[in-house]
Symmetry: C2
């Protein structure tokens, strides 16, 4: 066990794409948990696209990081010291900590992890925030009905891969956009997507959608934005629902991006476009967890994680999200 603690800090606001200058690894003492807290040795750390928003100096749903702050995110790890009756040393937990070897969690904000249900990284993906985002975003905003055609962008990511599978369980035709042949093969061969489009090798997304979604699009679950979304909108069916979960194509834009106007395309289909944040569904997280665990246990939902080795490579893992390095959930293994 290390007797010091490394933590990634937010070194500078990026201008456009973050670089290594955005991050600063500092070494310090292992923190002491206070009353009600747990000291956790981090096993796995989550990097997520929404974190790019916290790097901006502007109000949004997630508080902006101040320059110098430790970077924060989901972790899974082992309790090494407990100042709470709820957990004891040796327990495995998940919660929101720092990008560190050791992090302190409030016991009230931590949740137990059962390695018999799924491997630890899954608790940062399909059984964590991304899985809940997929569950509530698809079912509550997308509102899929049997026979619907559901299109998912970022379909091989943590959220998208879960969305597509839940849509399939709901009797929908499922079409995914992803950025490599390995990813599209995973979607169709392993996850049961009806069709998948490699957006990096396909020239005409509209024509590809004509093939893959010949009856039009009833639900679009958007993680990406940009040209994929531009191709989807003209094919929305009457009463279509668009869940805007993410817009990773635009997160590094420093000015407001432009593109084809979409509001004129909404009138004829009376389509509904709605932004979503998983935190709005917090009172129902327990129900989602039970359902997702059940689907994972039964094999109805498959999941996959891309593991970057070593806390020192956490920035690479984060940056890899924007170039699509990950298949499934991107995590960092911090310790064995």
């Amino acid at each position: 066990m290390r007797d010091s603690n490394r933590t990634w800090h937010f070194a500078a606001r990026p201008d456009g794409e973050p670089t290594m200058d955005t991050f600063d690894l500092r070494e310090g003492d292992v923190p002491d948990p206070q009353f009600g807290q747990l000291l956790v040795r981090v096993r796995y750390l989550s990097v997520d696209p929404y974190m790019r928003g916290r790097m901006r100096d502007s109000e949004s749903y997630a508080e902006p990081w101040a320059v110098g702050d430790p970077l924060q995110g989901g972790v899974v790890g082992e309790v090494v010291a407990s100042e709470s009756d709820e957990y004891e040393a040796g327990d495995l937990v998940t919660g929101r900590g720092t990008w560190s070897d050791y992090t302190v969690l409030d016991a009230d904000d931590a949740a137990p992890v059962d390695p018999d249900v799924a491997d630890l990284p899954a608790y940062l993906g399909i059984l964590g925030m991304p899985g809940r985002t997929a569950y509530f975003g698809l079912l509550n905003v997308g509102d899929p009905r049997p026979g619907d055609t559901v299109v998912v962008s970022g379909a091989a990511g943590a959220v998208g891969s879960t969305v597509g599978q839940i849509a399939g369980l709901n009797g929908c035709r499922v079409v995914g956009f992803a950025g490599s042949d390995e990813k599209t093969a995973w979607l169709t061969d392993d996850l049961g997507f009806d069709a998948a489009i490699n957006y990096k090798t396909t020239d005409d997304y509209g024509a590809a959608l004509d093939d893959a979604a010949p009856e039009g699009i009833d639900v679009y679950f958007d993680n990406v934005g940009g040209p994929i979304t531009d191709a989807v909108f003209p094919k929305l069916n009457v009463d279509a629902r668009v869940a805007v979960c993410g817009q990773i194509a635009h997160y590094n834009d420093e000015s407001v991006p432009t593109g084809p106007r979409k509001l004129p395309q909404l009138i004829a289909p009376r389509a509904k476009v709605q932004g979503l944040l998983v935190s709005d569904y917090a009172t129902r997280f327990g129900a989602a967890k039970a359902q997702l665990e059940s689907w994972v246990a039964s094999g109805d939902l498959q999941h996959r994680e891309t593991v970057v080795e070593g806390l020192e490579h956490a920035p690479d893992a984060f940056l890899g999200l924007f170039s699509g390095e990950n298949i499934g959930k991107q995590v960092v293994r911090v310790s064995e």
Copy 2:
């Protein structure tokens, strides 16, 4: 009474803004009503922005006009010959006819008009399709709640002026965009809008909204699109609703217009944007009519019509919609 019948026909599909070459006035015989039909002498004829969509050769909610077709739209007039038990000569009716001196209506599709409730042109505006559009679009898609701030574009038009007043009746703060000082004065002085912005003389719509809607925007009823809409979206509050009723700024665009991307702006506020067509609410038109007539009778709803004199000037009346010539509903007086 004329013993011939003039009818405007669709002469050529416009490229961009329609011109007089788009229209062709032909003279022919007064038609004979068949069984179940009425021959109506048109008093007033409606011109509406959505008609621009029917001039395109593409599928949409309203069937495209074929070149050579008579132009169609809402009319109010007097029955001069009836082949139906429901109406007799002398009755005043409204329905969907042609841009003509005389038009034939199916009695089943006609509705009686009571000049004691409102002047005839009102049956093409606040008591017609525009009024119903405002009623259902605001109440069902916009879903205004007391204390909300409601912003309306095209606020001095037939739909927008009704939307703003209904929002006011619902206890909302109401802000309208319109294109002249005469229009903005009408909104604030006569219709009870809390603020109105002249979009032709205001440079910075965002700053104007900061003044007019200091608590942000809960409901946006969009008839226009373009830069007004671009200024509204960044100010949407959490849980905001956007009703996309019209996009008149873009109706004459021949290619897909571009502008600031809006989907990234929807995530933090979890805003909902939805297209609307009044025809979806057809089963409830009776209830809307009763409510709107009651509000007009009580004076809770004001209305105004801009009357262009003479069937021969119907194209001017239509073209005037795109330059904002009308205050309230634009109609054409065809006969006394």
